[in-house]
Amino acid sequence: MSRDAENREQFRPEGHENEHFLLTTVVGSYPKPKWLNRANDLAEDPDSKFTQEHLHEAHDDACRVITREHERSGLDTVVDGEMRREEMVEYFAHRIPGYEFNGPVKVWGHNYFDKPSVVGEVEYDEPWLVDEFEFTSDVASKPVKVPITGPYTLASWSFNEHYDSEADLAYALADLVNEEIEKLVEAGATYIQIDEPALATTPDDHAIVGECLERIVAGISDEVRIGLHVCYGDYSRIYPELNDYPIDEFDVELCNGGYEQIDVFTDPEFEPDLALGVLDVHTTEVETVEEIKENIKQGLKVVPPEKLTVSPDCGVKLLPREVAYQKTENMVKAAREVEAELDAGEIDLDAPVPQAD
């Protein structure tokens, strides 16, 4: 069963202009300022005087800049754009005892990934994200969302040398994610997003992801909003099973496919809140406010407005930064305009999108 998703009201900004409230958010990653890439290169260069401390300071600066950029776009919840992360598995594997790195492996062409190996029991040592959450919270005036790579993806995108099965490894990692979320909640976090892109490639494992989520939310207050992001797959392979996941919100990428798959979620009734991708992150063309409003209305085919969250399809890190900003700003404007139209009763909730003949 889905969790009680009543916790979204806490993200409604003070003095929100409309009665309706479509929570606007992002998936996580954002283009890095060019100087940060240069700083990363310098920190790796043994001949450079640029130290890890300098790099840490550069990361702090980048997080400040991007968090504020998110706020300026009008988002209701913000992230730091994952400025400290280069890759979504490596970042966590470096912080988990039990992992080791042997070198890069090919993904495609000359794109490589430092795929880690699990060589012993995975353990919880130092907190993974608490420091950066506290830093971003200090910078931000809006609530901060924390994206965490999910245990199923951490397991699937590693070499498993130790556990009897990938599922056993995923469950062990899920317990660690649970511990991390407890620490984040203690530090004040109210919005957590679990990223499980690996589920899209192996949808038959949806029950393993379900068991992982049960472990992840064990003992976590209902006040804390838990989202799950899965992108670039055939959603019919995991629906309606995902209705049983203990989450508040399911975040999907559908804009890229022109909402071809939206009807998958209409029957049976969609249980968690829907966080709908309304920006295509693989095109540099900036969607207009009008286009985005039509995309948002696609979500109203699945859930009522009080259960609809609006976000880009996926992380926007591959876009030019000014394009990422413009898209985000248009997305927020579109959400506010749809709210106003809902207030005015101008949207027919039984048929929010004109039907094709």
Binding site: N102, F159, E161
Partner: protein, 335 residues
């Protein structure tokens, strides 16, 4: 007595320095991938990388040395993606791995290319007494990975791909063994009508060489009917995946339908960094051969189940040593 021959199915990871150097020279995007007419700097980097990886195999003492297919950016689709009458489309998933290749869209006749022969010529020049093993995708897998925009009919396309591969093999320098990799026979098995043509297609390639030909399958057990048809192919050995596969089904196929006089055993995991101990590999060889009640073999090729490019460089190299050490002595098999 069964002679144990240590080998690999090729497609090695690039040495780490070459990953960096070639990534700088070529770039990271789809249109930056190998075209078949690369410039001198790129050719030179691949030549140096090939020399290194060939030495690693001879140093390890492998019985067969492969070119290592370091240029094959598109993995098994490579022989088509560099062909002049093939256009490359979008990036598509390579089986169910977190790997991607350019979709080869065949737009015209599959004429002779010579791309793979040139790689093997360069490898032969590096070898002394060592035995060269050529590697190609099998005709079924290559046609399965491609999109046909020219021949129109699935059977005709399979025939055209096998003729193309036969023409390529004909231009190869002397080689002791030819491995034809056929993972698609497991992953997306041929349907009715096509399944019986697969053996013909493979035989057409096999007939182009005097070398011993091994059709190697992986990522599971072959469907019983597919296997029965495959047994009609004119090859010296069929290869089986005893790591990722359903071993019982594989043993059932072998015992029920028999197999060729030689066999290839995929016993070292090409997709996990855990390096097998040579004794473990040896035990697996013995266990497997003990469980084939129906026959004994002249030659058993001992190999990783899959290509090696999934691994980091250090672990791939260590696996070569394990394979070589496991096959040092001949095997006494009790009849």
């Amino acid at each position: 007595m069964t002679e144990l021959v240590s080998t690999t199915p090729g497609l090695y990871p690039l040495p780490d320095w070459a990953k960096q150097e070639l990534s700088d020279l070529k770039g990271h995007q789809k249109h930056d991938l190998i075209s078949g007419n690369e410039g001198a700097d790129i050719v030179s980097a691949y030549d140096r990388a090939r020399e290194e990886v060939v030495s690693e195999q001879t140093d390890a003492g492998l019985d067969r040395v492969v070119e290592a297919q370091l240029r094959w950016d598109d993995m098994l689709a490579h022989p088509l993606t560099v062909h002049e009458n093939v256009e490359t489309g979008g990036i598509v998933r390579y089986y169910d791995n977190n790997n991607f290749y350019r979709d080869p869209q065949v737009r015209g006749e599959l004429t002779f290319s010579g791309d793979v022969a040139a790689e093997l010529d360069a490898t032969a020049d590096l070898l002394g007494d060592e035995s060269l093993q050529a590697v190609l995708p099998g005709p079924y897998s290559l046609s399965d990975l491609a999109t046909d925009e020219h021949y129109g009919d699935e059977a005709d396309f399979l025939g055209a791909v096998s003729e193309f591969l036969a023409g390529e093999v004909d231009a190869f320098p002397d080689h002791e063994t030819l491995f034809l990799l056929e993972p698609s026979l497991v992953f997306s098995p041929p349907g009715e009508d096509v399944d019986e043509r697969v053996a013909e297609a493979i035989s057409a390639v096999s007939d182009a060489t005097d070398a011993d030909v091994v059709v190697h399958t992986y990522w599971g057990a072959l469907d019983e009917k597919v296997y029965a048809h495959l047994m009609d192919a004119d090859v010296e050995a069929i290869g089986f995946d005893f790591v990722a596969g359903d071993r019982d089904q594989t043993l059932y196929n072998i015992n029920e339908y028999g197999t060729k006089d030689d066999i290839a055993l995929g016993l070292v995991d090409g997709q996990n960094t855990l390096v097998e101990d040579p004794d473990t590999v040896r035990e697996r060889v013995e266990w497997t051969l003990d469980n084939v009640q129906s026959q004994t073999f002249d030659t058993a090729y001992v190999t990783s189940n899959t290509e090696l490019f999934y691994l980091p460089e250090n672990r791939a190299t260590e696996k070569l040593a394990a394979l070589a050490a496991a096959t040092e002595d001949e095997l006494e098999v009790e009849a």
